[in-house]
Amino acid sequence: MECPKEIVLLMHSYFDGDLQPEGEQQLKEHLRSCAACAAHFHELKKTVAFLQYAAHVAAPPSFAAKVMEAMPKERKTARLRRFLHHHPLLTAASLFFALTFGSLASSWGERGAFSVSADEHVIIRDHTVIVPKGETVKGDIVVRNGSIRIEGTVDGDVTVIHGKKYMASAGQVTGEVEEINQVFEWIWYNIKERFNRALQSIE
């Protein structure tokens, strides 16, 4: 028996949930009278039930962790922002340090003019301060953006910023000798200086 094609279409409309009342009536009547179509419809219903029954599957337990592990590295700024957000005290502290050291570090960048704190008993030639043989400089010497060659004696500390110090074999420094060529050294030097100055002002 050849049934009208539209009967099968009606069946599928039924499964799609958009069967109109007239269609429903037509399908019902046909199924009552046609065993082949009734069987067909029953099989479809069973098929759909099997499909729905088989639906439940869950991801393996470690799935989410594996995904997050396999993720591309996130932008650094995002990580930093989140970190700062979660650690407000650290943020305040790091802000303080950034401001304090930042200004110092940037003043390091300004390569100022050559200067020397002592001018008695020294010779200055091409950004090099020379303490001549036999001469004695009383007091500390600070050389900025230049070098120092010590052939005589310095009765105090010698500090060279952005430069080199050369000691002749006969040269003598009674105090400390320091070369500052790194930013952090420069910062440390400034902190010491400021601290000393602060102490002096208190005294």
Partner: protein, 190 residues
């Protein structure tokens, strides 16, 4: 549902700003759905896990292209469906099975192949029934398989399926009909 949508929107905004942790919440929310889709499409747990993972990573990488007009789940489903279809195409060289056979109302050779003999007694066992259903789905050409899986495994509306696959609802319906008919030949006698 409103609360859920808001939650998802917030997560997506955070992810778009580069916050990877916000994505973990979305993975948790959708992992079962996406894994299930991949498993039903590919029929193999190992491959399904790889594909689902890849889908989530793709979604994360392309999060900037996500259009908030669309449901996030729809977008994820689209990525995962396309990915599994790609994998299926690469996997099987017997593409001819997907070709339409003349005069059979759009049914393919695949759908007309006799079902593997499974006696009803065997299929009564629930696990075996699961297996049988899965094997039957795997016999479907991919274009019917995707609509059947999205409709019956993921329980999505025809409208959502049409958005996921980028097809008119009418086409989705036609594919569903053919998919159901092909499955009926395999499962209807159980």
């Amino acid at each position: 549902m409103y609360f859920m949508d808001l939650f998802i929107k917030k997560r997506i905004k955070a992810i778009q700003k580069g916050d990877q942790n916000a994505y973990a919440d979305l993975v948790d929310l959708y992992k079962d759905k996406i894994y299930r889709l991949c498993y039903r499409m590919l029929g193999n747990r190992h491959e399904a896990e790889d594909a689902a993972q890849e889908a989530f990573i793709r979604a994360y990488i392309h999060i900037d292209t996500y259009n908030p007009e669309m449901k996030f789940s729809t977008w994820l489903y689209r990525i995962a469906t396309n990915l599994t279809i790609d994998k299926l195409r690469k996997r099987k060289p017997d593409v001819y099975l997907d070709e339409e056979v003349g005069g059979t109302d759009g049914l393919t050779m695949q759908a007309q192949l006799p079902s593997r003999e499974t006696s009803p007694e065997e299929a009564v066992e629930s696990l075996e029934l699961q297996e049988t259903v899965q094997r039957a789905i795997e016999q479907l050409p991919e274009k019917y398989r995707s609509v059947i899986v999205l409709k019956y495994m993921e329980d999505l509306s025809l409208q959502e399926i049409s958005e996921i696959l980028g097809l008119p609802v009418g086409t989705v319906k036609t594919r569903l009909h053919r998919g159901r008919e092909a499955l009926r030949r395999q499962l209807g006698h159980l």
